[in-house]
């Protein structure tokens, strides 16, 4: 089978991204633990009193964790797709399913972003605004993200059709 250098480099890049996402996910979980400790017990680092606004930190950490977790899931699927591409044949039903899964993960992450914003707004409404000012929360749709979701769904359909044609071609004697 022919080796495609670009996909080979892409595979290495996605593997590296996957590794970084895992580290960031772990770091976010650790940060949420530290933030929780500081918000409950208060904290002092180097003589500076640290005030953690849990009303903002909690939803933000939740959102970040979800995004890094989503990135890990997306990267693992991209690795699988690029591995098949490296082998020379990306048109297999599994790749179509993986692309659809990536689209669903992206859509869920985007949906989760609105949920965390809603939670933040709810928390601020119930417990009051932060002392240092007010927080404006916008629920405007991210057209780039939704565009990517639509394109990925279309790509998955194209791969599904490609896989069907490839199978047809293999069974043409």
């Amino acid at each position: 089978m022919q080796q495609i250098p670009l996909s080979n480099w892409s595979l290495k890049f996605v593997n590296a991204l996957n590794f970084i996402a895992k580290i960031l996910f772990a770091a976010t979980l650790f940060a949420s633990l530290v933030a929780a400790v500081f918000s409950i017990f208060g904290g002092r680092i180097g003589g500076i009193e640290l005030q953690v606004e849990w009303r903002l930190v909690a939803p933000a950490v939740l959102s970040l964790s979800a995004h890094f977790f989503g990135l890990i899931l997306i990267c693992s699927r991209l690795v699988s797709i690029l591995t098949y591409l490296n082998k020379g044949d990306p048109f297999i039903p599994d790749n179509a399913n993986k692309l659809r899964e990536i689209a669903i993960i992206l859509a869920l992450l985007e949906g989760f972003r609105y949920i965390t914003k809603g939670i933040t707004a709810l928390i601020l409404n119930i417990f009051g605004q932060i002392e240092t000012g007010t927080v404006n929360i916008s629920l405007a749709p991210n057209l780039v993200a939704w565009g990517a979701v639509i394109i990925l769904f279309l790509l998955s359909q194209a791969f599904k059709e490609g896989a069907r044609l490839r199978q047809f071609e293999q069974l043409t004697i």
């Binding site: 199978q167 047809f168 069974l171 043409t172 004697i173």
Partner: protein, 57 residues
């Protein structure tokens, strides 16, 4: 004539001949059909039969 000899004479693999024989093939090239008829000394109608049923299979 054995299947191996037939496969060699019409220039397809034994695996592909098996796919043809078992009816799993989705399509057949004119060149393959032509070679088959040439080797077996027959007409396409002698080896092809239309059966009413599901078009997808």
């Amino acid at each position: 004539m054995s299947l191996t000899e037939l496969a060699q004479s019409i220039d397809i693999t034994l695996a592909n001949l098996s796919i043809l024989k078992t009816g799993k093939a989705r399509a057949i090239r004119f060149s393959t059909l032509s070679n088959l008829c040439k080797v077996l000394k027959c007409q396409p109608a002698d080896i092809l039969e239309w059966v009413d049923g599901d078009d997808e299979t």
